[in-house]
Amino acid sequence: MSKKPSAPAAKKVESAVPASDYALTPINASLSREQKIELYRTMVRIRRFEERSLRAYQGKNAAGGTNIGGFLHLYIGQEAVAVGCCSLMGKNDHVITAYRDHGHAIAVGMDTKPLMAELYGKITGCSKGKGGSMHYFSPDKNFWGGHGIVGGQIPLGTGLAYALKYQGKKGAAMAFMGDGAVNQGAVHEAYNLASLWNLPVVFVIENNGYSMGTSQARSSAGELAKRAAGYNMDWGQCNGHDVFEVRAVMDHFLTQAREHSRPSTVEIDTYRYRGHSVADPDNTYRTKAEVEEYRNNKDPIQVALHQLLAAGVFTAEIAEQIDAEARTEAEIAAEFADASPYPTVDDIQKDVYWESDHPAERKSEGRLFFD
């Protein structure tokens, strides 16, 4: 076999339409009024869910204990990325992401009650209180987590694409990661495998400028998405503050994956308003002015609101009603979580082995658990 790569050289894919016209690209122009409103609604629902979870985190339950333990990484400010990407999913498309996963979970259609209950560590949580904030899963919605190790989910996402190809299904996997994750070796191993084997995966870098308190400039040499070119993968960049732009750009790369089984890497520019997690006092690595600049001028919900109002898709009254409903939904989710029971100590050893969960079908013998 030759030493030379046989595939055509990778290229940066520039967007085909001027920045102001994303709503006019076919993938957006074809949306019904209801579908456009739905994009807005999903972003608002994510925002209100997370704001409510933050209040729960900071508050106490009736017994004086914590509602939510551990880490809580909020997605506030980044909503257009998950909503834009996941709104493009067909039945054979799959999603996997890191620990900042609430937005993706809601965007793929998970019910907010079990999501909130999971934060509260309740048995009614989407992972029965066993995963927590960082480990949401919903295979029935093609959502494969929710992963706590930076970059560790990227080989898994590549494996989802491998399975699609092996099974002859026309679909694509979207493997999300942060700007800090691009420096993990496993990501690069996955890039190489995906390109070498022509797997239908889109690697999505949600570039919010920081990995914890370390800015992109202090952690990464060169342009992030461009690293894909080294693996002979097409790559692109996109403004993640506009849900329609996210859809327009991602549609191209998802189509490449589904139709031609070619992977790609897309870097989506976004921003988080809150600290890295609730534990981050957020006063050492960026200025308040920078946060305000994004919040005031690039907030994805505000951007969409103005677009939809200007286009006459809905009225301010409807927007307010959507917001009120989202607040109510978040409140109901919190009430559900609060009222739900915790798992029992007996539950600790459930869901460890398929065989111990299906004792009638167990084929192995011997002890599975030790004390």
Binding site: L156, T158, L160, Q167, E189, E355, S364, L368
Partner: protein, 325 residues
Amino acid sequence: MPQITYREAIRHALAEELTRDPNVVVMGEEVAQFNGAYKVTEGLLAKFGPDRIVDTPISEAGFIGLGVGASMLGIRPVMELMFWSFYSVAFDQILNNAANVRYMSGGQINCPIVIRGPANGGTNVGATHSHTPENVLANHPGVKVVVPATAYDAKGLLKSAIRDNDPVFFLENTILYGDKGEVPEAEYVIPLGKADVKRTGTDLTIVTYGRCVIHSLKAAETLEKEHNISVEVVDLRTIRPLDIDTVLASVQKTHRVLIVEEQKPFASVGTQLAYMIQREAFDDLDGPIHRLATVDAPAIYSPPVETEQLPNPGRVVKAVLAALA
């Protein structure tokens, strides 16, 4: 019954399961065109083609992670590690992702992956290539760990491993690959978690697994002939799940125990066994539980000395005599 090698037994198990289930895929470095670094997968590419027998780049984290992801969608990947020693570069994928995904998803996701390859010292390849991580692996609830000693066991256990719905780590041995044993032509499977009494005896029980089974059987012969000592050899075959009942039954019969393992002593498989035996059969013991392990240092290269760092028949004989003294 035909005699085939341990290597062939594994290959036959792979071939049978590849034939049986179209979702089985064999993947790893040099498994296809090169026929396998240790020739375990020889001929499989020709028989099953490049979609089923897949050569990977040297990216253990990447391809094992890929296998984990694919298994979540129903593929049954059988991943070859050229040496289990390289598990360290894929540790996160093996023990954070494969071992945890079922639990963290509240039981929603299965991960039917098999990772197999040799894990042994004794081949003079130095400390980086001589790891025996069965204790490290078995420490993680959610996984199964198998260490076969014979061709018969290797075939039957690997078939069970591939059909299992949880991650199974299958640790072979380069020194055993050429060993022949009787393997029936008719299909059979051996359930995971079932120990096998490889030799019956009355004076002392050796609890062991992997290549140390072979050492122990040789030692038992010497002890019988030269010292008139009757040793029972219990081969665990599977580390997790663990068939402690077979071990305890033997202890109740012989009242003396020697654990023999190719493991560094600290927090080894034997450590766990000793705890369980004293906890569950204390009254049956006529003396302390003894253990023979690897001499506690990184694997030495020097060929004649490495033999003495590992358990070997001579060291087993001495350890039995010491235990009965």
